[in-house]
Subunit: 677 residues, 2 copies
């Protein structure tokens, strides 16, 4: 059933691509720019694949030797699909960008729909791909090595997806922000050029960055989140409901149903007129309602007599409630993040007002908003855990996570919206289209900023829940492993155990230094861009007067190399931590368990704080640029630009990369149990 | 024995005061300024006492009704001593400030010694007070209600100390940074005045702030940390070594010995010539060595045959090792924080270089340095836990904490050094002394910045360990309470329990929103100062030309009111969290336990990151002001000033207040067990 839905989703995505392609790609100049951006993005992704492949091959070999073959193959499939998702995201975005620009020169609604549909293609393809990959692998592996081992091999697939996703998020994030910050520091601040001015040698690199970071990185990330949540639910289903095949089918069904819901959401946007933000929110609500309605009969069909979980019989209605919690969580997290990052509410306006007294007060206000923004999502996560556990134990939590993630299709559609309109604006300026076109794309871009923050909040909230499921899988795997040796499982994960506390500290440290290294990486890569732009402007003074053409390709090349070089250290950090803790005999499995939870706890907070601060700073700047508090060029605006620049690595590099990082740590820990303990 | 040492310490402090008083307090103008600062500080502290008293009386009554009388009386004693420590710190600092200025106009070494001795007075008085208060209360209460109840009543004393300390840290921190930021924003940035220019109406308030925040707040904080660590060690000693009186005497002895060590350290500074930083470090090493040597015979005398802890016999040598771990931790944490915040090393210089590309890159670099700075201390804490637990179980951890805190006397001497020289510089400028005087105080001030960061790192690292001890006491209290009712203790604090995870999330949240509210508070109070300064300058334009005198008193009054108003919400937050979690029946004792640990985990990281970032930013600015990278007035300097201003609430308000906050949460949880569960 879920495969059918996945195929329907893919077919619908194909239909959307055809619909987008029918729109005009604009004039000669626009096609030219679009081609240059596309080429840069492709060149980057190709090199990124080569770099990651080296590491992936090493891990494949290790898994092949130390684990079983099916896990190693699962790893390759997960890695390949994650990469493929990134490629798809990038390709579709590049197609949609230029057509959005063209549409914006005609009509706002058309631009909104093309940008959204471009995102929807990625969303449906990524979700469809994840559903198909996991279900086909599970079916085939089940036939060959038996269901028990097939479930375990899925962990390999999850690791492949997560690891690639960390690299894609980091590499793309470093690329996009290094190019952005580098272009701004010299172009905007030193030379007074506008955003996307074609005289800035880093402009093409900046636009490439939006595609490789926000589109390709994000698509890989959501593929990973989706696949891991699905696999987590299957693992828990196999553990707690052993022998009941419905427990494993259920997560697939939830995913399949929401593909249909997402299609309804896409229809909603393409049919209903109105302002961008409410229309997009309407799409989310449509999807949630359709899913909520269809989950009911599906749950009752699969579990007509309920199920027995840890000795307690749970009715189908209780399972249904657990699945609805995931849908509600999605809506709640979206609404909360929207409040903290939209320019219509107090937090962003507070940052804007703080800009009037200078750079420092803007920064303080932004940092405080990010920290405040952690409160409600975390409380909601707590309530969701409590309720879903109440309804169906650990399986209930896993179901809630999966149902939350089942909405990924529509959420990606919102997220991609931002970079597509951002790039559309870039094309408009570079192709020297009339100012009104830019005004339309700017309006859509502001909505896109909030949507991007919303998606990240959603991804990290689900990661918090998913990681919890993975941690319990770790403990169960450990128990199986120890008892299989004929020993008694005596490990205690109690907080009164000093080793657990040490684990919590080490785990809590990981997100702190992971993000610190990521921010350093952006700084170093941006420095390389700044030097190159300054060199070009000095060597050819004609660039600024428009007589000479800048050398875009060299900038693209420099950022590509810098991003790939700088992503290595932070991306390998989680692997290093897990293996180091596992290898040191004084630490061992208990400290590792504490570490997994520690990473979830601080990671959740830092990720929410960073992405919220970043989104809020960006929109505080946009709020001032709309003419408030002195408008563009005022003292407040200068301070707001500082905040926006600080927010860049926060919201687009370090913050979102925490999500796959948490998962890598948890999955890797599960995989290495038989190797080290 | 410890009482004798405490009395020796107090006597030596008295001798130091006499020595300081013998120095000249300078000319008429200087005495006048000093008197104005003193008056403002006294006025603030008096009002603070009134505000806090209301809350303290309410809590006293609640304890009196719901707990036993001796706990309620302990609470009052703890609160009173914490307040007294604050008063002492402020009084001594004000005396030392002006004499340091006078000495700086004669000789650098003399200025160094007076500033240090001023700090040493506070250090010895605070430590002596804590030792005496705890030992007298314990002895007297033991005689009246029996030893068992006396140990429990000590928790009341700890709560009193911690609660007052949260208020003092927050109120003082908000005061000092609101005045500082407010004075800078209008005076320095808008009007181009120098630091401490007497034409700035907020100057006196700024100097008052240094005294009520950095001196009074810090003294209350260290009193709390010391008393809580001592009480924690006693609690654990009573729990794990029931019946062995040496277990309870041992922590007192360690404290007493280190008082003698601190006196040796003070002699070292007053005798050895040389550069400020190495001389001060020499004092710490002297103290550590003296303590390490004397701990050996003391441990063997108290535990000639070793002790049995959880069924294992521990030799006196093992206990001695546990105590030495605390001394080593002190040295290590001091060295690490020194590396991250001193301008002689890479982190600070990296921030300075990042300032060349603007405000935003300065901020990103500073935030990254703060996060990096968490790594080594946390790893060291982990090692310390592992080793001290290995040597003597939980009692070993408690002993390590106590021995670490036993060095508080000398550490405070370093810490007070900063605000005293800062204020001395202020007096020099306001009294229009020659520039060379300011140069001497500036040099000492830069060393003081690092020392302040070092002390905060020390306080928070010890808090991490102490809180762990308190958490275990919480679990033991809970066990006693449940079994006393004749029920079976069935609470599980395992990480596989969803309620524990929810607790970790809620606890992890607390430091995030606590610091967010604190930073907001500084912003609001600073806004009030900015408005008042602008109003005065507009109403009397003669102020800037020197014809009119500014109205310092109104500024002092406004900051006083604003600081006291704004401290209430964040200070009551931890109380609210603990009581709310305890009261909601779906949460209860297990969630509360998880919450205690969650607060420790994220609190530790945030506190280290914030105080390190703040210190590094401050010294990056000083590094540029020394003439590097363009010096004062350059673009890089403007960016560095932004970083310093962001760092102000980080390092002096939000960051250091986390330390007592963590303790309040843990102690309160222990106290409310019989009320709610």
């Amino acid at each position: 059933m879920s495969m059918v839905c996945a195929v329907i989703g893919l077919a619908f995505a194909y239909f959307l691509i055809r619909a987008i392609m029918r729109h005009s790609a604009g004039n000669e100049k626009m096609r030219e720019i679009s081609a240059a951006v596309q080429e840069g993005a492709k060149a980057y992704l190709n090199r990124q694949v080569k770099t990651i492949s080296v590491i992936a091959v090493v891990i494949f070999i290790l898994l092949f030797i130390f684990k079983d073959h099916s896990t190693a193959i699962g790893f390759v499939i997960g890695a390949f699909c994650s990469l493929a998702a990134g490629f798809i995201g990038m390709r579709v975005a590049v197609l949609a960008n230029v057509r959005t620009t063209q549409a914006a020169s005609v009509m706002r609604t058309a631009a909104l729909r093309i940008a959204f549909n471009g995102g929807a293609v990625t969303g449906l393809l990524v979700v469809g791909l994840a559903l198909l990959a996991v279900s086909i692998f599970y079916t085939v592996a089940g036939k060959i090595v038996g269901h028990d081992l097939a479930v375990r091999s899925l962990v390999g697939l999850a690791l492949g997806g997560s690891l690639i996703s960390v690299f894609a998020r980091l590499g793309g994030g470093i690329y996009t922000k290094a190019a952005d910050v580098g272009a701004d520091l010299v172009g905007k601040i030193e030379k007074g050029l506008e955003e996307d001015d074609p005289r800035n040698p880093a402009t093409i690199a900046d636009n490439v960055g939006d595609n490789v970071g926000d589109c390709a990185g994000m698509a890989a990330d959501v593929f990973e989140t989706y696949a891991v949540s699905l696999i987590g639910a299957i693992l828990v289903g196999a553990l707690t409901l052993a022998g009941n095949p419905a427990a494993i089918i259920y997560p697939f069904v939830l995913g399949g149903i929401s593909v249909l819901g997402a299609i309804c959401g896409v229809f909603f946007v393409n049919v209903v007129p109105g302002k961008p933000a409410p229309v997009l929110m309407g799409a989310v609500i449509t999807n949630a309602l359709v899913s909520a309605i269809l989950f009911w009969p599906a749950t009752h069909l699969l579990f007509p007599a309920g199920v027995t979980i840890s000795g307690v019989v749970r009715s189908p209605t209780q399972l249904y409630f657990a699945s609805v919690i995931g849908l509600i969580m999605t809506a709640v997290v979206v609404a909360i993040t929207n409040y903290y990052t939209s320019m219509r509410y107090r937090p962003v306006q507070k940052i804007a007002h703080a800009s009037e007294t200078g750079h420092a007060t803007n920064i303080i206000a932004g940092l405080a908003v990010g920290q405040h923004a952690t409160a409600l999502p975390v409380v909601c996560i707590g309530i969701a855990i409590l309720l879903s556990f109440h309804f169906a134990g650990l399986y209930g939590i896993a179901i809630a996570v999966m149902s939350m993630l089942s909405m990924a299709g529509i959420i990606i559609s919102l997220d991609s919206f931002g970079p597509i309109t951002d790039n559309a604006g870039g094309v408009a300026v570079m192709a020297k289209l009339p100012k009104e076109v830019r005004a339309v794309t700017d309006e859509l871009d502001a909505v896109g900023n909030t949507m991007k923050a919303v998606t990240k909040g959603y991804a990290i909230a689900s990661a918090g829940l998913a990681a919890l499921v993975l941690f319990c899988s770790y403990v169960e795997e450990l128990r199986d492993h120890v008892t299989a040796r004929g020993e008694i499982f005596s490990f205690q994960f109690s907080l009164t155990e000093p080793k657990v506390i040490i684990g919590l500290f080490i785990g809590g440290l990981l997100p702190f230094i992971f993000t610190a290294f990521s921010m350093d990486a952006v700084g170093k890569a941006a420095g390389a861009v700044v030097r190159e732009v300054r060199r070009q402007l000095q060597a050819k003074p004609g660039i600024l007067t428009g007589q000479d053409l800048p050398d875009y390709a060299t900038c693209v090349d420099i950022v590509t190399k810098a991003a790939l070089r700088e992503m290595i250290v932070p991306a390998l950090l989680p692997l290093f931590f897990v293996v180091a803790v596992a290898m040191i005999p004084q630490l061992g499995p208990v400290v590792l368990g504490g570490m997994l939870v520690g990473t979830i706890v601080t990671g959740l907070f830092i990720a929410i704080a960073m992405t919220s601060s970043g989104g809020a700073w960006d929109n505080a700047k946009k709020f001032i640029e709309e003419g408030n508090l002195g408008g563009k060029g005022s003292f407040a605006h200068a301070a707001a630009v500082t905040g926006d620049t600080v927010g860049d690595p926060y919201k687009d590099t370090a913050g979102p990369a925490i999500n796959p990082m948490i998962k890598v740590v948890n999955i890797l820990a599960i995989l290495i149990i038989p190797i080290f303990f």
